[in-house]
Amino acid sequence: MYTEEVMDHFRNPRNVGEIENADGIGEVGNAQCGDIMKIYLKIDDDIITDVKFLTFGCGSAIASSSMATELIKGKSIDEAVELTNKAVVDALGGLPKVKVHCSVLAEQAVKAALHNYAEKTGKTIKGLEDFDPDFDVHEHEHEHL
């Protein structure tokens, strides 16, 4: 069902946990739908120096969060904001069709955390102008069940 990369990130998820006094925190999804992702960012000089996540969700949700954190760690804000769910899926070697929305959730969680950082610091992040932190991926995704 899952690729070796997915299983590797599921088996040994990278960057699990919380960051105290994080510079940005994003939470997306909801428990009713069976998936919540929370991402914590430590940002110095527009560089993501640390990132951690907590996820309530299926195997691919955990793997997507883990992969997303790996992909943005050490990157600049401008790079991180360009992270797409497709990049997560590709890095994982693919996801089953019904699980693609987990990767969308990971993308949204990163954006939400960056958005939170922008709000706190009063900065503007290019690419987040239209971001809606309350976006619910499930409203659009529950149909293919």
Binding site: L54, G57, G59, I62
Partner: protein, 387 residues
């Protein structure tokens, strides 16, 4: 992987070696068509007659009331649609429950699109149908009541005899989906007032692809599979002699060992039901505490999600399920867990462990040990857990 502990016997079971042996003879030696006139085919016919007797014996039915089918789902479809089509002039109302298997529910939904009305009875927090609700739901035009014997997810056993008595008194046909109960707990169709009963071989260490429908004499549902004159003209298709012989062998063993097996699996079940909440906080038992299948254990663990749980358990060699096997891969929590009133987020974290004769106390203890770790690990990862 050091150890394999198979705890998904409600999904399907290992075929018993004795059953495989029985079938093998019919694959390559006695492969004749039972409808054929030559000795070679007649031997198969005789064997079939014996199998029918064995299966009938387990539920106190007559040999002429046993019809072999291709699976439990076919039996369910045949019972429901066959009665609906044949007796629709008497009425077009059917009563069933909210926690039936999809083979019943989707068949009923199909009938609703074709002019039938279906009442889906609610169940209580333990998954029990209420006899009062049933009585209230019965109408002038009710032609069929279909209530499952035991639920596949939470193991709850319904008051079948009482339901049957109500149906009989009101002159309504009573069908029960006994796919999970047949061969696991005693069933007596006479005593329990059952008119039709579905079963499936692969749930009792028989082969996949063989089902059975018991139809009480005098009831004649429309055929689901028309064609040749097999099964007394009620179910066409060359008889699956090896499969049916394997089914009968599995039934024979189930019958002989039932008492012992119930004792053994109940003890293992109760051990799981005791140890799990002892060692894991916020673990909620689903299903009825006592009126439940000897092999069924179902818990919800707060703050975590079922698929992750299954995958981590699988890494420890433990095969289990979350909700029914048919709905995994779907992302919605199961309709059964919803019907017993679980909130979504708790339903998502449910685990079904289903035991068989082949499980041991070591299996149970190993599972509990691993489960404790896995639940803890997932909770540490969960944004919902504040523990």
């Amino acid at each position: 992987m050091e150890r394999r502990v198979y705890l998904d016997n409600a999904a399907t079971t290992m075929v018993r070696p004795e059953v495989v042996e029985t079938m093998n003879e019919y694959f390559t030696e006695l492969y004749g068509n039972p409808s054929s006139i030559y000795d070679f085919g007649q031997k198969a016919k005789k064997a079939l007659a014996g199998a029918r007797e064995t299966v009938a014996g387990l539920i106190n039915a007559d040999v002429d009331e046993i019809y072999f089918t291709g699976c439990g789902s076919e039996s369910d479809n045949w019972a429901i649609k066959g009665v609906a089509e044949k007796y629709c002039s008497k009425g077009k109302h059917i009563i069933t429950s909210k926690i039936e298997h999809h083979a019943i529910l989707h068949t009923c939904e199909y009938l609703e699109k074709n002019g039938f009305e279906v009442t889906y009875l609610e169940v209580d927090e333990y998954g029990m149908v209420s006899l009062d609700d049933l009585n209230d739901a019965i109408r002038e035009d009710t032609i069929l009541i279909s209530i499952m014997f035991a639920n596949n997810e939470i193991g709850t056993i319904q008051p079948i005899k009482e339901i049957g008595a109500i149906a009989r008194e009101k002159n309504i046909f009573f069908h029960t989906d006994a796919v999970q109960a047949f061969g696991h707990v005693p069933i007596d169709v006479e005593e329990m007032n059952i008119d039709m009963l579905s079963a499936s071989a692969h749930k009792i260490h028989g082969p996949k692809g063989v089902g059975m429908l018991y139809i009480k004499k005098g009831i004649r549902p429309e055929n689901l599979i028309h064609g040749g004159a097999q099964e007394r003209k009620m179910r066409a298709g060359t008889e699956n002699v090896p499969g049916i012989m394997g089914f009968a062998k599995a039934v024979e063993i189930a019958g002989e060992t039932m008492e012992e097996s119930i004792g053994k699996t109940t003890a293992l079940r109760d051990r799981l039901m005791k140890l799990i909440p002892e060692k894991i906080e916020n673990a909620k038992l689903n299903g009825h505490p006592t009126s439940r299948l000897p092999g069924n254990v179902n818990f919800s663990f707060e703050f975590i999600e079922g698929e992750s749980l299954l995958l981590y358990l699988d890494m420890d060699g433990i095969s289990a399920s979350s909700g029914s096997a048919c709905t995994s891969g779907a992302l919605d929590p199961s309709h059964v867990l919803m019907a017993i009133g679980l909130p979504h987020e708790i339903a998502h974290g449910s685990l079904r462990l289903s035991l068989s004769d082949f499980n041991t106390e070591e299996d149970v203890d190993y599972t509990v040990e691993k489960l404790v770790n896995v639940v803890d690990r997932l909770r540490q990862m969960s944004p919902l857990y504040t523990g």
